[in-house]
């Protein structure tokens, strides 16, 4: 079975033999990069994330016996690495001000964050701030459905969940998203 998206990237493909890393990278790196960017959010360096993911792929490739489809296997690795990256990012965000130089005396001080850049990214950051308050299983399904625009059936194949479970997670994720969005904007107070 091969489901092909509009960008001609194979989403689900049949598996014949265990591919090597080079082939996996060439065939799936773009898809993995897109998943990684959407799962991890705007504050994460996608290059580093893709690198980390394929390091894990290389390490685990000998264990891959083809019980799952390659895309499912890759997605699970991507999800785990992105999750770990977000965990690190929570710390990094706390330290984000450390990335600004606060130099007095020797240099002209500069404490300002460019307003334009902030506004440009504000919406995306709001989405991920809300998404980060959702349980992981709901977060992923909502991202795959709304941002990655996969169908329920595709999500089920990719995540290994039953289709009915996908719908349950999606219904609950939507309800939580709305509740958190209201909380975030203070509309419900």
């Amino acid at each position: 079975m091969t489901l092909v998206r509009s960008d001609a990237t194979p989403v689900i493909e049949s598996r014949s033999g265990v591919p090597d890393l080079e082939t996996l990278y060439r065939t799936h790196a773009l898809t993995v990069a897109r998943w990684a960017a959407k799962l991890a959010g705007p504050l994460v360096d996608v290059d580093d994330l893709v690198h980390e993911i394929f390091l894990v792929v290389r390490r685990r490739l000998p264990e891959f016996r083809g019980d799952a489809q390659v895309t499912t296997w890759l997605y699970r690795i991507t999800e785990r690495v992105a999750q770990e990256s977000r965990r690190k990012d929570r710390f990094r965000r706390w330290f984000s001000r450390a990335r600004h130089l606060e130099i007095e005396g020797t240099m002209a001080p500069s404490h300002l964050t460019p307003v334009d850049e902030f506004e440009r990214r504000q919406s995306t950051e709001t989405v991920y701030r809300i998404l980060d308050r959702l349980p992981g299983k709901y977060r992923s399904v909502l991202i795959l459905f709304e941002l990655e625009e996969l169908s329920g059936e595709e999500i089920a194949t990719l995540t290994g969940l039953k289709l009915a479970t996908v719908w349950v997670h999606l219904h609950r994720a939507r309800a939580r998203f709305i509740a958190e969005m209201k909380r975030d904007s203070g509309r419900n107070t």
């Binding site: 990069a33 960017a37 394929f54 330290f95 990335r99 005396g105 002209a108 850049e117 989405v127 625009e149």
Partner: protein, 335 residues
């Protein structure tokens, strides 16, 4: 009893209903779903991964850079940490549930302790351990060098680290230890104004975590700031020279600092590269732009590019009429 069960079954059935419409595809509106859709649309746009980056990551993979297989020792350490934490949590929960009456007296307690009197529950140290992982206001991590500095972090307005740190992890991971060390260094630098001690803590950070630390970029910036505060410009410039900087977000501040240091050392060619990078894009009217514009004028003048220098100074006066270099700029252009 049957009615709630029936309602529950109905809810389950509703939740299994396939969803075909995406919020992100809905037109704008005032409904919650439309607002959510508008937000999600903004996040859905992810630029395609550039072919250049794809090739770079492939090259990194081939070079086996940062290929750090997990060792059994690391896994054992995590397991031990989890066991210890689990034990502590279990003991804490038991302590709360049973209360002081069931706590067996410690043999070390003095025998002359009064048998009666008010019995106080001891909650010290228990609450943080029981706080949920995503507690909204977690405690800041203790800063190396004393508990008092940990309290000051939140009390100094307008300074770094005003926000509480992320919730404490279940086990003190390398990341948590690293963050504690770096928080201490930043506190020394920015709250206590002690760049020497900050540098010492950063040296500890480097010794323990090396270049592979998750917070290495933040540590590097803190080190540069400490070196500049100590007047060790050469070392600061050495670190900045080794950085690949862009004129985006926080990189702008590093870029302008590097340009000024390069200009200070008479390396105006290299400084101009940085100033040009900063001023090439549409720039916000902030201090970085102001410094870059004046700095470029200075460098151009040093390279005998009088036309360029004059143009920058005129531009500076128009854009920053109350800027800090206004007097010098006016004098230079003869106003």
């Amino acid at each position: 009893m049957k009615e709630p069960m029936a309602r529950s079954k109905q809810t389950d059935a509703d939740e299994r209903t396939p969803i075909r419409d995406r919020w992100s595809a809905r037109p704008s509106g005032d409904s919650d779903e439309a607002l959510a859709g508008a937000l999600l649309r903004s996040a859905a746009v992810v630029p395609p991964f550039p072919a250049k980056n794809l090739a770079e990551v492939a090259a990194r993979l081939r070079s086996r850079e940062r290929h750090l297989p997990r060792t059994w020792a690391w896994q054992v350490a995590v397991a031990v940490g989890l066991l210890l934490f689990g034990g502590a949590l279990y003991a804490a929960v038991l302590h709360i549930l049973r209360g002081p009456s069931v706590v067996s007296p410690s043999p070390a307690l003095p025998v002359s302790m009064p048998a009666s009197g008010p019995v106080r529950r001891r909650h010290v140290g228990v609450a943080p351990a029981l706080a949920p992982a995503n507690s909204p206001v977690p405690e800041p991590p203790p800063v190396a060098g004393g508990g008092e500095s940990g309290g000051k972090l939140e009390s100094v307005p307008g300074k770094a680290l005003l926000e509480p740190p992320p919730a404490p992890l279940a086990n003190p991971s390398a990341l948590a230890q690293e963050s504690r060390l770096l928080a201490g260094a930043i506190h020394k630098l920015r709250q206590e104004r002690n760049p020497g001690q900050a540098l010492a803590m950063l040296d500890q950070h480097r010794a323990r975590f090396g270049a592979k630390g998750a917070l290495e970029p933040e540590a590097k910036v803190t080190r540069i700031e400490a070196l500049l505060r100590l007047g060790r410009h050469d070392q600061a410039l050495g670190l900045l020279d080794a950085q690949v900087l862009t004129a985006a977000e926080v990189g702008r501040e590093m870029l302008v600092a590097r340009a000024e240091l390069r200009a200070e050392k008479g390396r105006c060619g290299a400084a101009l590269n940085d100033f040009n990078l900063l001023l090439a894009a549409e720039t916000p009217p902030d201090l970085v732009t102001e410094r870059a514009l004046y700095g470029r004028a200075t460098c151009r003048a040093q390279q005998s590019d009088w036309t360029g220098a004059r143009s920058d100074l005129e531009h500076y006066l128009a854009r920053f009429p109350k800027g800090r270099f206004v007097d010098q700029a006016r004098t230079a252009v003869g106003r």
